[in-house]
Symmetry: C2
């Protein structure tokens, strides 16, 4: 992947099916505070996780087309469903480098020392097998789609009996098998970490969003493409959801300043 | 509302943001077995319940435009969010009669004998106050948006500890206040009836989908527009979701025969 160094002060474009990718955008901003972030969340059409591959590709292209209007220097697909189902089609279609949510974690996966690993995500991500295929043979993989985790996080029920009960239900096999390392294969899941620990005890998490931030930092350094300015954090959404402030507060907290606009205004 | 009697053997068009409206379509087919049903579910863009009014109107128009291609004699908005947020705009825009999920229950609401009534639905439906405004003064109204009920139903967790815990959480005030009559203001909620009874004891449900079916039957009779043929049940979806068969089985059971197609094929 190559980034044109003359674009160094241009934004990083990050997209997701909705608000969830802000966990990725936020960690990227923490790792690279000088970068100008333009985030696009397709809230009008979320979730992508149970849609067909064909529809996922179509929507992802529209998301990228929106970001390209900002002359971004690199694109980050913060959406695990897109990263798992559409990334090769997108890379064949666009010249701009596209960072996904899988590749930055491959080295960690290939060098796993554990005997067992758990992978959780949306149905589409789990069915794609996109993390599993990098886990060395000999390591036993347990996978589970956890569709309720996203609405539970958005309802603010992650540290709540409903969150704990859903985690107990979905992670029953992980518990029985003593799985102690888990890949959080969905944007919302970092917010479920405490709940998962509540159910499984002390577990180690692999967070692909964080790994993507580290990967991006190295890529920008290598290409002499780090921003020299103090960058903004702009959020564009295809629809302004009800209870937006409550949801944004769950995902962004109050440490990072940002602006928010409807993409069609 | 007038239906052209020469169109009597044309289909009834029913739309919803997704699969949920099939609870309405199914009850209409049970009440009117000879009618030809064309159902359109906008699964590519569901849910509508947390979207803005502007987006809801735009999507509903696209749903209706799809159904008009089948020369339907009447439209049913099975979507409570659309019925609560967009119906007057749609009726101003289209000539065809549009049955919504509110109006057919107005008589029941106006003649309520209970002292207390509970209304549950999506955030958009509850915020719209569309049921509440027909409840006579003197009857105390308790309203609660229950966003987790939809994903819980679609996960098949309605008769399950997660469904019960979510119902206990959302309906805590109903229980404390002894609410014994509840309007099920969302397509998915008829599937939560047993779970709600588990939490609240013996309650009476007002089911707007069923009331809409009775309303439609009377309207067709009055206009001499009842179908004379044995009608099909056609389902069109803007996206074929993962686990479609499991989800269809939850909503349709196996008594009614139907066909299913992607709307863009």
């Amino acid at each position: 992947m190559q980034i044109d160094s003359s674009l160094r002060n241009n934004p990083i474009g990050i997209f997701d099916s909705g608000i969830g990718g802000l966990t990725v955008a936020k960690v990227i901003k923490e790792i690279l505070p000088k970068e100008h972030i333009v985030y696009y969340g397709d809230t009008a059409r979320l979730p992508y996780g149970n849609k067909s591959k064909e529809t996922i590709i179509k929507f992802a292209k529209e998301d990228i087309d929106f970001l390209l209007k900002f002359n971004v220097k690199v694109i980050v697909s913060a959406c695990f469903t897109v990263s798992s189902n559409a990334i090769s089609e997108l890379r064949n279609f666009y010249k701009i480098p596209i960072i996904d949510m899988i590749e930055p974690s491959i080295n960690i996966l290939k060098n796993l020392k554990e005997k067992k690993i758990g992978i959780i995500g949306t149905i589409a991500t789990i069915e794609s097998g996109s993390f599993q295929k990098y886990v060395p043979k000999g390591i036993k993989v347990f996978q589970k789609a956890c569709p309720l985790f996203v609405p539970i996080v958005e309802e603010g029920f992650f540290n709540h009996p409903i969150g704990i009960l859903a985690a107990s239900e979905y992670l029953e096999e992980f518990k029985k098998e003593g799985v102690k390392t888990i890949i959080l294969g969905c944007t919302h899941y970092p917010l479920m970490k405490d709940t998962i620990k509540n159910v499984l005890g002390d577990v180690k998490f692999i967070e692909p969003g964080y790994e993507a931030g580290i990967f991006l930092k190295k890529l920008l350094e290598k290409n002499n493409a780090l921003s020299e300015n103090e960058g903004k954090f702009e959020i564009y959404l295809s629809d302004i959801p009800r209870k937006m402030n409550e949801i944004l507060n769950i995902f962004m907290g109050d440490r990072i300043k940002y602006t928010i606009k409807k993409s069609t205004d």
